[in-house]
Symmetry: C2
Subunit: 219 residues, 2 copies
């Protein structure tokens, strides 16, 4: 398949952010009296947008969140990000070789955070206005909506798009949108890459790639 466009998930695909993000969430949850480990955050919240993450936290906590919870969590996250923040190895080089192939980001994270990160990485010029955020949507991933919005924004049929996703929830969203999906296992939070690839295969991804060099062979 020669795709007509490539749609990238952001965290765990472009930004090597999931270790830090999930450690920070574990700290924020523990601080409000819901003791939670990094591993539990990766399992229960990773890949969801904030609305769904909040619903899941409230269900576990059994009461509503402190009204300043997101603000406090964001302040904590900003501190952590200031300690250092890198793109996923191979992502900048992969983007450089795409030429004029249309591409977009379809992410569950907030638009501000995505814009800040792309600026810091020097990668913003690759995407122009084609950054689609499911933050603020009631139906985030694994619903296909954000992927369909990205394809529509690029003016490309979903079936002609190659989507790159590291989380099972994101992979399910892209599959349901009718895209060809690469399960990507190249980010720092993925400890056992073979096992993660197996899990993504069970969700139904069409290809598994352990690093960007393998994605390049598909696009």
């Amino acid at each position: 398949m020669i795709p007509a466009a490539i749609i990238f998930d952001f965290d765990g695909v472009i930004a090597d952010s999931e270790v830090r993000a999930n450690r920070t969430l574990a700290e924020s949850l523990t601080a409000i009296g819901l003791p939670t480990t990094y591993e539990e955050c990766l399992r229960d919240y990773c890949g969801h947008n904030w609305q769904e993450t909040e619903r899941r936290i409230v269900a576990r906590l059994g009461r509503s969140l402190p009204t300043d919870f997101r603000a406090q969590h964001r302040a904590r996250a900003r501190e952590r990000f200031a300690e250092g923040f890198s793109p996923v190895p191979g992502a900048p080089a992969f983007l450089d070789r795409l030429g004029t192939l249309p591409r977009a980001i379809a992410s569950s994270s907030s638009p501000d955070y995505i814009a800040m990160s792309l600026d810091r990485f020097g990668l913003a010029h690759h995407f122009g206005g084609h950054v689609y955020s499911a933050d603020g949507w009631d139906r985030g991933k694994p619903f296909p909506d954000i992927y369909l919005a990205a394809a529509k924004g690029l003016g490309v049929e979903p079936a002609q798009c190659l989507a790159i996703e590291d989380s099972p929830i994101g992979a399910a969203a892209a599959i349901s949108a009718g895209m060809i999906v690469v399960g990507f296992c190249g980010a720092g939070h993925i400890v056992d890459r073979a096992a993660h690839g197996d899990m993504l295969r069970r969700v139904g991804v069409h290809h598994v790639a352990l690093r960007f060099e393998e994605v390049a062979a598909l696009a």
Copy 2:
């Protein structure tokens, strides 16, 4: 949540068939020169309808399948099923206690096989005409279509349906249809139930149940 309807996946939820089905598929693939283990079948094909299964086999084989492949495979499967075939423990009792709650089957398997199995188990009267098969559809699970068809057939909003699924592909389909999803880990092919439940949580299921008694607490 008190659901307005329950929609059941079939294999691995009603029929304890996945061990035998995946062993049989491993035999059929090995017989045509594609050596495949039971574990690989569970990982790569389980949960998909025949059309997608065939696409995946062809992609791996690198040539088209023998024209009689499905017929040969079905003959082999019939022999294996004759050796013994049981419902998932707890499924008949669970169905008995549903009273008048609308319920349907949404399965990737063939209508003939589902009808034959329900007859053998003495469970056909529970479903009336509400057996929906994605076999023959180009877009099977994880696309939401079969779940949406089942909800429409029952005349119930998808968001009011509780779906019960054992495979990540099926769970992704039900989630994308907008249903509340129970990740079910009670069938015989699931060796490590805790690990399987974790995997289903990562796909985004709302609940995990290790046996039908735990599903009963939700419905």
